[in-house]
């Protein structure tokens, strides 16, 4: 497959996986948590490297999962002792991220890991680092990882669809129905962590937040149905990735930056023209009419 095709596929997979996870992030009002985890997975990746001295997908995923869970657990713990939620998130993620940065620049030194790459990603390198898999042949390593994670995200959301819905809408009811609300919370945090780390190589820690939040926020403006919101958000994410890539080639600029910018444009359009909650629709329809 051509170089451009691999980049478009990789970008679309980032858009789909982040778009799906993003819907739950938005509805659970945890957008800030995505920001936090996208940074702290850096610590997970560096620690995994220090322990296993390899940069393969498996150890990176485990490291990221543990870092994500540590972040979620620490924030929860600080909150329970009376620290405000936003302050707890701010303190925890900057501290863990800082530890990651210190470890990178001291002990890991001249390895492939560098702060700039981790923050910004570099999707244009992805097609060159391939692995051979049966049937499919030679495919880029990062794309393979994204395929697995996207599939995982779809399966976990679909299998526990009603549990996600009720724990998000009304956790107290969910608890009284016997659904393990706290366990679901940590499963979700794990999902955010692995999605972030899979998208890391392509778009980096900062732009992954845009991919997680913006398509879902835009989808929320188009529909009042949860399932439609999931589908729209994934589609918006994939579409923005492809448009962003085209934009980057045209303007000869940062690919991950253009992708994030494209999600922003999509959101702006939705904000103005979204049929359900868009600003313009409020002029055309009276409340209750749609």
């Amino acid at each position: 497959m051509s170089y451009t095709a691999w980049i478009l596929i990789t970008g679309s997979l980032v858009g789909i996986s982040c778009g799906l996870v993003g819907v739950l992030l938005i509805l659970r009002k945890m957008a800030m948590m995505a920001d936090a985890i996208s940074h702290t997975v850096l610590l997970g990746i560096v620690s995994a490297y220090l322990i296993s001295s390899s940069l393969d997908g498996g150890s990176m995923l485990i490291g990221a999962m543990l870092a994500g869970l540590l972040t979620a657990w620490l924030v929860q713990w600080f909150e329970s002792t009376g620290i405000h939620s936003d302050a707890a998130i701010g303190v925890v993620f900057t501290t863990l991220f800082a530890i990651g940065v210190i470890l990178i620049s001291t002990s890991v030194g001249n390895v492939h890991l560098d702060v700039n790459h981790a923050l910004m990603g570099e999707i244009s390198f992805i097609p060159w680092n391939t692995v051979d898999v049966p049937i499919a042949g030679s495919i880029p390593q990062a794309t393979l990882l994204l395929m697995i994670i996207t599939l995982l995200v779809i399966v976990v959301i679909a299998l526990f669809y009603k549990e996600w819905k009720v724990t998000t809408f009304d956790p107290a009811l969910a608890a009284s129905l016997g659904i393990p609300v706290l366990l679901m919370h940590y499963v979700f945090m794990t999902l955010v962590s692995v999605t972030t780390v899979a998208a890391f190589d392509a778009v980096g820690a900062i732009m992954v937040v845009a991919m997680l939040i913006t398509p879902a926020a835009a989808a929320n403006l188009w529909t009042d149905k949860l399932i439609t919101m999931f589908i729209l958000s994934a589609a918006f994410g994939a579409f923005a990735s492809c448009v962003g890539y085209g934009l980057a080639i045209w303007l000869d600029t940062s690919i991950s930056g253009s992708m994030a910018f494209a999600t922003g444009i999509l959101f702006a359009i939705s904000y103005l023209f979204g049929p359900k909650h868009g600003q313009l629709s409020k002029w055309f329809y009276k409340p209750g009419e749609i």
Binding site: F160, K162, K165, L173, S176, G178, L226
Partner: protein
């Protein structure tokens, strides 16, 4: 049979005690109004009983501990403000959520479940709103959706947190009808309630709470001027009409 036994229940937010060693037991088939001033710990008590709020001390027993699994036996109607009404879903879907405990893992709600949910909506006069987006409901309508969801749960013991707060007359009538129906089916219901005037008309038992348990028992023995004064301290005003107390 005893539906609920609470022994020595205490709970705190940070280090501030909000519930101070409550002990009481509630008979099956009773309709109890939970009454007390703001900050008395009424909602906290319900949450602590349901395990939604950590307790410092105490034990809770449902139906003499005879239930192997509590799921599907406890129904909870939270305060309306406890959920985000902009959540992308419709009325029928919210009511169907009451059945999720019975549907089982990896299964989706089907036609049968939606039918049950629709019947519950009919009971609270909300059937015509089944496909309405929940953000487009009035406060009273939201409350009736929650009631329908509680009905569809078909639990044995219900906890309702201020269902009457800020609702219209139609909704109030519906809630009363639902409470009567639940009682006639032998269900046990605990309702956090604010309006003292209506307590004797709505409830056969009263639980007076102000961090500590002031009194619990049949309404005519418990809902008396002296117990109420003890509950509300100096805060209570009789607004010139104490007949509703004396008429008991």
């Amino acid at each position: 049979m005893t539906a609920l036994t609470v022994k020595n229940l205490s709970s705190a937010y940070q280090k501030k005690i909000v519930l101070d060693s409550l002990t009481f037991s509630i008979e099956e088939g009773t309709l109890t109004g939970v009454v007390g001033p703001n900050g008395a710990g009424k909602s906290t008590m319900i949450k602590a009983i349901l395990g939604l709020q950590p307790k410092m001390t105490g034990s809770i027993e449902f139906f003499n501990g005879k239930l192997k699994k509590l799921t599907n036996h406890l129904g909870y109607v939270p305060q309306r403000g406890a959920v985000d009404w902009d959540f992308p879903t419709n009325v029928l879907d919210v009511v169907t959520m009451g059945l999720y405990g019975q549907i089982g893992w990896f299964q989706y709600p089907g036609k049968k479940h939606r039918q049950l949910a629709f019947e519950a909506l009919e009971k609270v006069n909300m059937a015509e709103y089944a496909n309405r987006q929940i953000s487009q409901l009035s406060g009273g309508q939201q409350q009736r959706v929650f009631l329908a969801r509680a009905l569809v749960q078909d639990a044995d013991l219900y906890f309702m947190d201020e269902p009457f707060a800020g609702v219209d007359a139609k909704t109030e009538k519906t809630i009363i009808a639902v409470l009567k129906e639940l009682k006639s089916k032998g269900k046990t219901v605990l309702v956090v309630h604010h309006d003292l005037q209506t307590v004797p008309a709505y409830f056969d038992h009263v639980l007076l709470l102000n961090k500590q348990l002031i009194a619990y028992g049949p309404t005519n023995e418990t809902f008396t001027k002296s117990f109420l004064k003890k509950t509300y301290g100096g805060e209570i005003h009789w607004m010139g009409s104490d007949q509703f107390v004396e008429s008991l």
